[in-house]
């Protein structure tokens, strides 16, 4: 059985003409079907890591292995890019065609997928992101969240096993964000697609299986959301937020109320406070 879908081994990366490396000795292993959130402020190395995962960049030192394929192996390049699809921050920069269906077809043409196979793949990709009704629409008439879903469909049509999202919700409004995250969550659960979800939104990271926190080119923390966010002081030092409810839990504890430290959501906080204070039935 495949144990590791993404393996990052002692990876360092230095941009051309840069003095300091953007990544230093990074090690990470991602299991098939895992949903991993990557946090870190700008310049922490998150995006560099993302670009190493589908061979947009090659490590200066160490190696990145995607489903057993080393990203430095030129022979495997197209297979790696087909396996590990990537979506970016700006919905407007990722759409190339003037009709949604053609935009989804674009990647397939590049992969050399037989023409008779294409309509089926496109239909199924659009259905997976609930955009079938918009197949003939012009992308510029869509909302930001819808455009991101079309971009995701373009990747899904290539039948990847990994989706890398580099701040895919940063430019969306709250409902667009929820719609894109929910779409990717569903793909992760139903199709077992492994997800690397780079984000600045702590609430999004709180729903991941695992969180990796980057700082100054290194992995500063890793663990389940509860394990990571309970370290409120460390997160603060890294200039990162913690979810509001985790913050409140900590300040209540400091005020003498024995609230459990692993609270992330409003529902969990409601249960915790009720355990201590609600009238018994």
């Amino acid at each position: 059985m495949e144990e590791t879908r993404i393996s990052v081994e002692d990876v360092s990366y230095t941009y051309e003409e840069a003095e300091a490396p953007a990544l230093r000795g990074v090690n990470a292993a991602v299991r098939p079907g895992e949903f991993v959130a990557v946090l870190g402020h700008n310049g922490s190395g998150k995006s560099t890591l993302a670009k190493l995962l589908n061979a947009l960049y090659l490590p200066t030192e160490g190696r990145v292995v995607i489903r057993g394929m080393d990203t430095a192996d030129e022979q495997a390049l197209w297979q790696i890019r087909q396996q590990a699809g990537m979506i970016f921050q700006n919905p407007d920069n990722q759409i190339v065609a003037t009709v949604v269906r053609e935009d989804v077809a674009f990647g397939l043409e590049n992969l050399g997928v037989p023409t008779e196979e294409m309509p089926g793949r496109i239909e199924s990709a659009l259905a997976s992101v609930r955009m079938s009704a918009f197949a003939e629409s012009a992308p510029h008439m869509l909302s930001g969240g819808q455009k991101q879903r079309v971009a995701i469909a373009g990747i899904l049509a290539m039948e990847p096993s990994i989706l890398i999202a580099d701040e895919a919700t940063a430019m969306l409004d709250p409902s667009g964000r929820a719609e894109v995250l929910e779409t990717v969550r569903t793909l992760n659960r139903r199709k077992g697609i492994t997800v690397m979800w780079i984000t600045h939104f702590m609430e999004e990271a709180a729903t991941a299986d695992r969180v990796i926190v980057m700082s100054e080119g290194e992995i500063a923390l890793t663990g389940t959301p509860k394990e990571v966010f309970r370290q409120v002081d460390v997160m603060r030092k890294l200039h990162l937020d913690v979810p509001h409810m985790t913050d409140l839990a900590q300040s209540l504890r400091e005020g003498g109320m024995p609230i459990n430290g692993d609270v992330l959501t409003v529902d969990e906080m409601t249960e915790e406070v009720c355990r201590l204070l609600c009238p018994s039935k």
């Binding site: 430019m171 709250p174 702590m202 509001h244 409810m245 409140l248 209540l252 005020g255 529902d267 609600c278």
Partner: protein, 291 residues
């Protein structure tokens, strides 16, 4: 006679591409007033008309119907001095850093004041002051290319360009969109200082109810091109059902407060900040200890 409000929007309607197949009315019969010293947040779903509304406040868009009065002067009346109005009302667009173009930060910030025909000394004073307002050290950044800076810093340069016009009203359309938490905190802290210490009246379009809860003195809630509610954060956030009906949330503290009240906990119904919720919960906990 009643004194005129600093900014009055009267029965404003805006229709894009009027007369064409793409005709769309973005806002319909909106009336509101803005007073000196306020920090007004404009909230609403995407497409609710927020950006269209604020782009009228400095005359960037012209109303299809209705009027906008700044200090009693109708901005769109024939012969109105639009330049004077633009000096009073500064507008920071969404992603304003896309519009930086000069070779150096100082030149970019100086662009507006230069167009006003001010003296070199006055321009220099304004550039230094505007950079100080956005926390960019003059000696360190003035001669650098804006394009070498981080996204958050570029945005601060763009905001400094608006501040160099020394506006009395600062209108910002989603000033933190796309920034990381540090960049967000920095921009919001800076806006708060301008409001509290600089005496600038702020109108901010935002999607973050938690930011709005912390900063705004008044909220304007828009839906489908109309103002559906206006009031203090406390008045608005107690109406969680109304907000949900137009696709908006309330701050997490307000949601927690409602959930706990639903479970029988004696809390006031209008708490909306984490700080006040903390105070109330700790008081209940202490009373429980004594009982």
């Amino acid at each position: 006679m009643q004194a005129a409000m600093p900014i009055e929007v009267r029965h404003l309607t805006h229709t894009y591409s009027e007369g064409s197949a793409f005709q769309a009315t973005a806002i319909r019969d909106v009336s509101l007033t803005l007073e000196d010293g306020e920090f007004v947040a404009v909230v609403g779903h995407t497409g609710s008309g927020k950006s269209t509304l604020v782009q009228h406040l400095n005359g960037l868009l012209t109303p299809t119907e209705g009027q906008i009065l700044v200090d009693g002067m109708d901005m769109f009346a024939p012969g109105a001095d639009k330049r004077l109005i633009r000096r009073k009302v500064g507008l920071v667009f969404q992603y304003p850093e896309y519009q930086l173009f000069e070779e150096t930060v100082a030149k970019d910030v100086a662009f507006g004041p230069k167009n006003l025909g001010l003296s070199a000394d006055e321009i220099d004073r304004r550039v230094r002051q505007a950079m100080a307002h956005v926390h960019l050290d003059y000696d360190q950044y003035a001669q650098r290319s804006p394009f070498e800076l981080s996204g958050g810093q570029m945005r601060r340069v763009a905001i400094a360009g608006v501040l160099a016009m020394e506006p009395r009203f600062l209108i910002l359309d989603e000033p933190t969109a796309g920034l990381d938490p540090m960049g967000r905190d920095h921009i919001l802290g800076m806006i708060q200082e301008l409001h509290r210490q600089g005496g600038v009246t702020v109108v901010m379009v935002s999607h973050s109810m938690d930011d709005v809860a912390r900063l705004a003195t008044r909220l304007i809630v828009m839906s489908k091109g109309q103002v559906v509610a206006a009031g203090t954060p406390r008045e608005i956030f107690r109406q969680a059902d109304m907000m949900a009906s137009i696709g908006l949330g309330v701050p997490e503290a307000a949601r927690l407060c409602a959930a706990l009240r639903g479970r029988g906990l004696m809390l006031p119904e209008d708490l909306y900040t984490l700080e006040e919720l903390r105070e109330h919960l700790l008081r209940l906990w202490k009373e429980r200890g004594k009982a």
